[in-house]
């Protein structure tokens, strides 16, 4: 991993009174997969749009591939590939035609057009369906085509805004396998946003963003180490009594979520037998696990990332776009 290819200092974006992004500092290195993690509305898309020159920052500076995003947006755009949150393919054209269109507007030399299109189709396993209209593609195939398109002009950095939004878990894994593979093969830097905690595990480094600010930055392991040890959860029919007893006897302050108590302890394997032994209130279930990024987020913000809510919204979005696509 080499020098920084994305740098941001004190990036701020205001919409009137509303501060969507409140001072973001970043350093992304060449060849890294960098994840921008946070709930919906945290400022992820706004930040990525400023880095891609689609929005101009209210204040602060940023450079991508060593070029200032405010002063020279055209040169920045030449060096980056983009995959937007919302679909942006022409679904009446075939996959290959979409790529040809892109090759033209990004000035891919005529002699290399065909070769590069074939290569990208092959890398993202779309060769078989390249001649079919995009409206016949599955959601995962459309995303792969957008990734292929974003890489067609051989950018130095790929920006992906929620590339797996609205896709089923299996397809999401598949997209990740492809992104990892692309990085291995081409050494490209990947900057992406997601609100799926589990996806952040695939990243080399993650910035957790909440309410327009970065609240933590590091490798997934470093972030998880912030939680300190293991996470023990237990359920009880009398959660309140159990909570106060745990606090008194075991000197751990549990957090409550309905009937579930959640504790962070240094050594979970030793803690669980004590818990069961010492408590006088009935214990229904106990579980022990390594901390996940959800735990990190919860610790940093005091809130759980609302995955259920988000996924309902995603489904609606996906449904809406399918309908729109058909009507077209």
């Amino acid at each position: 991993m080499g020098e920084a290819v994305i740098q941001a200092k004190g990036l701020v974006k205001k919409y009137g009174e509303l501060e969507a992004v409140r001072g973001i500092d970043l350093d992304v290195k060449q060849g890294e997969i960098f994840g921008f993690l946070g709930p919906n509305g945290a400022g992820k898309s706004t930040t990525i749009s400023m880095l891609c020159t689609l929005l101009s920052p209210t204040s602060g500076t940023a450079s991508v591939a060593g070029i200032d995003v405010v002063h020279d947006p055209a040169r920045v755009r030449q060096r980056i590939g983009l995959v937007f949150q919302d679909p942006s393919l022409d679904d009446q054209l075939t996959g290959r035609e979409n790529l040809e269109f892109h090759a033209f507007i990004y000035s891919v030399p005529a002699a290399k057009r065909r070769e590069r299109i074939d290569k990208m189709l092959d890398l993202l396993q779309l060769t078989d369906r390249a001649g079919s209209q995009v409206r016949t593609y599955s959601g995962g195939m459309k995303r792969r085509l957008e990734i292929a398109r974003g890489m067609l002009h051989e950018p130095q950095i790929m920006f992906l805004d929620e590339p797996t939004l609205g896709l089923d878990p299996q397809t999401r894994r598949n997209i990740w396998t492809h992104l990892n593979d692309l990085r291995e093969r081409t050494g490209i830097t990947i900057f992406m946003t997601t609100h799926y905690m589990d996806e952040a595990e695939y990243c080399d480094r993650i910035a957790i963003i909440d309410r327009g600010q970065i609240v933590a930055l590091g490798t997934p392991d470093q972030l998880k180490a912030m939680v300190g040890g293991d996470v023990v959860t237990m359920t009880s029919t009398k959660p309140e009594e159990a909570a106060s007893e745990i606090e008194k006897v075991l000197h751990v302050v549990p957090t409550r979520d309905d009937g579930t108590l959640r504790m962070e302890v240094p050594d979970g394997r030793k803690f669980v037998p004590r818990l069961v032994r010492e408590l006088t209130v009935p214990v229904d279930t106990v579980s022990l696990r390594r901390p996940s990024l959800d735990d990190v987020f919860l610790k940093l913000t005091g809130r759980a990332i609302r995955d259920e809510e988000a996924s309902t919204q995603d489904r609606m979005r996906a449904m809406a776009s399918r309908w729109m696509g058909r009507r077209r």
């Binding site: 393919l89 054209l93 507007i105 291995e184 077209r328």
Partner: protein
């Protein structure tokens, strides 16, 4: 893919410093591919081509026949030597061009709605390329649409010589260009599909009715005469009619339909000039609108 290829690719990306793009050349390429995409979509949508023939046919057969019988049929003919359907035929070609050009260019609004426009707007090209590419796309589609209607000529009793057909190509191109530019300008001001119905009812329909496609622009009430002379489509449809009917009757008879200003029949060249200038000015406005970042 083999390991060697992979490492070779790695090397290219690591050392790649893209040659600075000549933005003008890139934008011209963009004009071409935007235009080409529109044509590709047009041909792919066969039903649209078929459906677009239905409306002109309905006008000619039902509206034309109905109106000429209720007007006593011969009344039109005895005065000019032409039947109403013959008179109407070039107007219907004009109508087809009008709607296809404006709709074609306004597909930008659909592209915005469905996300594709974003792909174009973020590319390292100048935005005038988008406006011009779309205007040319709409122009070409409308021209093809108009030319397809030539196959109906024998059925409505209109004679067409090769020379006439050749003369129609530039005339319909200018009409199509003016209206497509109008469409691009409208699209540059619309952020969603919502305004579309308004444009359809308050701009396109009046433009069609007042263009002289359905009735001669003479002997009208003064207020209406004024509006028809302000309708840009009038300046595109009038030359089309004069040329289309030139093989089917006396030149003097043809001139009796021609648009006049202050009692003077306008020369075709002037009409074409007005139409072209209209298109060029509106396209200029559209370019400026597109260059303002959204």
């Amino acid at each position: 893919m083999s390991i060697e290829t992979a490492s070779a690719t790695k090397a290219t990306v690591a050392t790649a410093t893209p040659a600075p793009i000549d933005t003008t050349a890139a934008s011209l390429r963009a004009v071409y591919i935007i235009w080409y995409r529109d044509l590709l979509r047009y041909w792919r949508d066969r039903w649209r081509v078929v459906a677009s023939l239905a409306q002109p046919l309905l006008f000619l057969v039902v509206f034309g026949s109905g109106l000429s019988s209720s007007l006593g049929g011969g009344a039109f003919g005895s005065r000019t030597g032409f039947t109403y359907i013959q008179f109407m035929y070039p107007g219907i070609i004009g109508m087809s061009i009008l709607f296809t050009a404006i709709f074609g260019a306004m597909s930008i609004v659909w592209d915005r709605e469905f996300g594709f426009l974003k792909e174009v707007l973020v590319a390292p090209i100048d935005r005038w390329a988008v406006a011009i590419g779309k205007a040319l796309g709409g122009t070409t589609q409308a021209m093809i649409q108009g030319m397809i209607l030539l196959v109906l000529a024998p059925f409505v009793g209109v004679k067409l010589s090769l020379l006439t057909i050749l003369a129609m190509i530039p005339l319909s191109a200018v009409l199509a260009f003016g209206l497509a530019s109008f469409g691009v300008m409208l699209a540059s001001m619309m952020k969603s599909l919502q305004g579309f119905q308004v444009v359809m009812n308050f701009l396109m329909m009046p433009m069609f009715f007042l263009s002289g496609a359905l009735f001669p622009l003479q002997g009208l009430p003064t207020w209406m005469t004024w509006i028809t002379r302000l309708d840009p489509a009038s300046y595109g449809i009038d030359p089309l009619r004069r040329v289309v009917l030139s093989d089917s009757g006396q030149a003097a008879a043809v001139d009796r339909f021609a648009m006049t200003i202050g009692g003077q029949v306008l020369p075709i060249g002037l009409e074409v000039g007005i139409m072209f200038a209209f298109g060029a000015v509106l396209l200029g406005v559209a370019v400026v609108m597109f260059q303002r970042r959204d």
